[in-house]
């Protein structure tokens, strides 16, 4: 559903000398959606984000927002705001002044900018900490302040550069729910760079998987996970086995693999108890590794040990052919 207000990348390219970091990518980010740019490190996702933010120059192509070419505008004039990986809060300013910084730069009076800052702090539940310095806050609190500071400029698109990577796993899950809530409340586009597929699946309306400077696959979270286009996507999204069947590569979800009387012969290499499931890795005769997530109760009815021979079976309809 295109609305003309979308953020659009047109053959966007970034070159550093002879290295191509981002190679002619085209994409339309729908207005008001939560999009995750997902990929391994060095795939060009951060460079793409920084080009959209205006912190990295565009080598070729353009970035359109609202139908206007913003590729060569300064960061603050683009209608985007960035939340930095390490939050980049000004250590000498208290929380309120950090949030009000952009308004101060515009020359807005103190009472007015403090009012706007307080509203943003309210949104991220940080009002009680307004007079503290960043060093007196926990990682999660700093993250909220950074979010408030980015949002106070009323951006059309919020760019988040691995926003959860500095938090511990427990906090990460809490904060990502918070991010989703704020995005829904504000209704603006969130563009979130991450290398964690669970994070992307949990948050994104739409996932853009990048690899080697190009977009490997993009689409709604469920479709990317259920129908990976390439072997790379299948492996990177996790939960899939990539095996050769009848001369073609196919993806097979690990939780679709069952242990039966008939099927592909394999030798168990490791067994890991994971609570609800048991993750059993086995090696087929063709030398391909297959992971099976077997429901716990079912597994312990006929437990297997490394070295045991098993037969792997699955519903033929659940096998997904890969294009590359």
């Amino acid at each position: 559903m295109r609305s003309g207000k979308d953020l659009e990348l047109v053959t966007l390219t970034k070159r550093y000398g002879t290295t191509v970091a981002v190679d002619r990518i085209n994409y339309v980010f729908e207005n008001g959606s939560y999009v995750c740019l997902l990929g391994p490190s060095g795939c060009g996702k951060s460079t793409t984000l920084r080009m959209i933010a205006g912190h990295e120059s565009v080598s070729d192509g353009s970035i359109l927002l609202d139908g206007f070419d913003i590729s060569h505008l300064p960061p603050a004039k683009r209608g985007t705001a960035m939340m930095f990986q390490n939050y980049a809060l000004f250590p000498h300013l208290n929380v309120r002044d950090n949030v009000a910084f952009s308004l101060r730069m515009k020359g807005i009076d103190r009472p007015e900018r403090h009012k706007a800052a307080n509203e943003m702090l309210d949104l991220v539940h940080m009002t009680a900490f307004a007079d503290r310095l960043p060093a007196q806050l926990s990682g999660g609190q700093q993250q909220r302040v950074a979010l408030a500071r980015a949002l106070v400029t009323k951006p059309r698109v919020l760019l988040l550069d691995e926003p959860l990577s500095a938090l511990d796993p427990f906090l990460r899950i809490k904060v990502r729910a918070e991010l989703k809530r704020i995005q829904r409340e504000l209704g603006i586009t969130f563009l979130h760079v991450t290398h964690g597929q669970d994070e992307a699946l949990a948050l994104a309306d739409e996932i853009v998987v990048m690899n080697n400077a190009v977009i490997e696959q993009a689409g709604p979270a469920r479709s990317v996970w259920n129908t990976p286009r390439t072997e790379f996507v299948a492996r990177f999204m996790g939960g899939h086995n990539v095996i050769s069947l009848n001369g073609a590569k196919v993806a097979l979800r690990a939780d679709e693999v069952t242990l039966g009387e008939a099927g592909l012969l394999a030798t168990v290499t490791s067994v890991e108890y994971q609570g609800a499931h048991v993750a059993m890795t086995s090696m087929t005769d063709a030398g391909e590794e297959v992971l099976a997530l077997v429901p716990e109760e079912q597994f312990f009815q006929t437990p297997k040990n490394p070295g045991d021979a098993v037969r792997l079976a699955w519903d033929e309809g659940r096998v997904h052919r890969l294009q590359a």
Binding site: P75, A76, F84, A88, L89, F90, P91, M105, T153
Partner: protein
Amino acid sequence: MLKNRHIQGWLQASPLTLVLIGFLILPILTIVVVSFWRATEFSIIPDFSLENYEFLFGSSVTYKVFYATLKYAAITWALTLLIGFTVAYYLAFHIRSQTMQIALFLLCTIPFWTSNIIRMISWIPFLGRNGIANSALQSWGVIDQPLEWLLYSDFSVILAFVHLYTLFMVVPIFNTMTRIDHSLIEAARDNGASGFQTLRHVIVPLTKPGIMIGTIFVLTLVMGDFITVRFMSGSQKANVGRLISNDIALLQYPSAAATAVILLITVLIVIGILLRFVDIRKEL
């Protein structure tokens, strides 16, 4: 056990304590004690008399000389800060590669491989009445007469001070600046700050501790100096250091000691005031 640890702590602290007592506290105490002695043309008399201080505070020369010393310090401070900040800023934010940063930084220190006095004296043939500066300006037709104020003037004194002490400003400021996270500069830009606004609202506030340390270096060096003022002013200008050095030359140690005590107190007051504004503890 507790007592043991107590003794251990004292033992560990004692070498530095002894060094400081022997080489800092005792000499200063000696100066303070001697400042209360009396002296005649041919003898020094241990005593407790305030006559050195009475003479010092009673003489208009003292005030003039202290004023001149503070003036040199203030002007030198302003110039070294301006130059030092600019150089440090350039090194820290415009030079991308760290190797290049270190190379250029070492380049700044090369003049320090020669002695202060030689660097100072080398200005004399340059600035003199028939020196390089005057003859060049004359040959370009900028001036008709040689400029008299180039040498043996406040100008030459301050020029030498700035030349000698700018590096003491560059080093601590550069040191503080390299610790500024570059993403803060990006964040400022993202928030719409212009280059100057970033400098004013982000870089300068974060560089304050370095500026303060450089300030302390420059102020104490300039206020305690006497040789630069003597050479570069051709003995025509005075500062407190020269007052003390003259007294010593005349063997008037008690009077010299009294002046030194007042100078020490002045410098400590100035630094005390400065430290009220900026917290440098995290830099040390």
